[in-house]
């Protein structure tokens, strides 16, 4: 008699496990891709530790945007080395393969590794949200907007002296007043234009 109860129990457990597994796979995930991602608090905490470690061990700030002025200077030097050397900005900030430039190269490699392990490598040109707003035939518009947006962003970063990494994380965590003001301005500009683009 006991034996039968055990058999029934095992059957119920097996059926319910299968049922739960089935239900779980049918649940809509909050993201339109399987989730190889980490909790933002874990990723953020590790980024905080990374900034701290590089400040202590290498005496270097984690930033990205100055790599683009270095990059443009190095490209320019291939074409007109004398002219590049005479530009005032480059006399104080010699374009070179330095800390930030290597960091940006490393970021591409790291992201590639992470995306590969999570099966998230993609080759998309138009992202879902963009297509939903501007349609599937908006490739030309996207090219223009990406070029103009990237240019305005890099210009603003040089003017403000940093980007989301340099001011937004490295600066704010040192409690720099300028970095906190910069971040507020990043968000004000970003929220205003995103609302205009996607909500009107």
């Amino acid at each position: 008699m006991n034996y039968r109860i055990y058999r029934q129990l095992a059957g119920v457990v097996a059926a319910s496990t299968a049922g739960v597994a089935q239900a779980a796979s049918e649940l809509p995930t909050p993201y339109p891709y399987p989730e190889p991602a980490w909790s933002p608090y874990i990723a953020g905490g590790l980024i905080g530790l990374l900034v701290l470690t590089t400040l202590v061990l290498a005496g270097k700030k984690l930033g990205a945007s100055s790599a683009y002025s270095d990059g443009s200077g190095m490209i320019g030097r291939l074409v007109a080395p004398r002219h590049i050397a005479s530009i005032p900005y480059f006399q104080n900030n010699k374009p070179m393969i330095g800390w930030t430039f290597m960091l940006v190269i490393g970021t591409i490699i790291g992201s590639f590794i992470a995306a590969s392990t999570g099966g998230e490598l993609t080759g998309t040109y138009l992202q879902d949200m963009w297509v939903a707003r501007f349609g599937p035939d908006s490739g030309g518009l996207r090219t223009l907007v990406a070029l103009a947006g990237g240019a305005l962003m890099a210009y603003g970063a040089r003017m403000a002296g940093g980007c989301t990494s340099g001011h937004g994380i490295s600066g704010t965590l040192q409690l720099a007043v300028g970095s906190w003001i910069a971040v507020i301005c990043f968000f004000l500009g970003g929220i205003a234009s995103a609302m205009l683009m996607y909500r009107l």
Binding site: I47, L52, V56, L126, M129, M159, T164, L173
Partner: protein, 196 residues
């Protein structure tokens, strides 16, 4: 002026770790960045907030020991405010920031690669205009390299404690309401149930 080779190697290694964290933290995605500005996905603020609290505790704990020094940018009012707003507008248009655009490039997002070319152009434009701009930048004055504790003559731990408390309370509220959020995902509005 030139960094020694070991620092370049450390830079590359730091970048690799940074790239992994950005990708795993989901911020190499157009949708996550734009949805943050639409206030429908708070991943960017969660990551930045946690990084700031963790980093600030470490920095200000090590500072009195002389193990670390602050690397601050001066508060040049005009540059920070006007440049910061330009940055935000450009970031919403592009859908990535300078760090996440290269992370998105590593993830294979081709629009991010195009924007990187735009960024090289924007940086070059600034460099060329710099002689004329340098006077304009200081138009509203320069408050120097100043921190919130110095500015207000308070202990840094008041600020760090306040930030940590705000993050914990906010995360706690999000966590306690996450059950209903999971059933009614409102983030971004682009949800397809994944095929089983």
């Amino acid at each position: 002026m030139f960094d020694p080779l070991w620092k370049l190697a450390v830079g590359l290694l730091t970048g690799i770790v940074f790239g992994v964290l950005l990708q795993k933290g989901r911020v190499a995605k157009f949708r996550v960045i734009v949805s943050q500005f639409l206030l429908t996905d708070w991943t960017v603020v969660k990551i930045m907030g946690t990084a700031v609290v963790v980093g600030a505790i470490g920095i200000y704990a090590l500072l009195p020991e002389g193990l670390v020094s602050l690397h601050l940018k001066p508060l040049v009012w005009f540059g920070i405010i006007v440049g910061g707003i330009c940055f935000g507008v450009g970031m919403a248009l592009f859908g990535y920031c300078p760090g996440t655009s290269v992370a998105a490039t590593g993830e294979g997002r081709r629009d991010a690669m195009v924007g990187v070319l735009g960024m090289l152009g924007g940086a070059a434009t600034y460099v060329l205009l710099y002689p004329g701009l340098s006077g304009l930048l200081k138009m509203w004055g320069d408050a120097g390299k100043v921190t919130l504790p110095q500015w207000t003559d308070t202990s840094p731990w008041i600020w760090i404690g306040g930030l940590a408390a705000a993050l914990l309370i906010w995360a706690g509220i999000l966590y306690s309401t996450s059950g209903s959020r999971r059933q009614h995902p409102s983030e971004g509005g682009f949800h397809k149930p994944t095929a089983a």
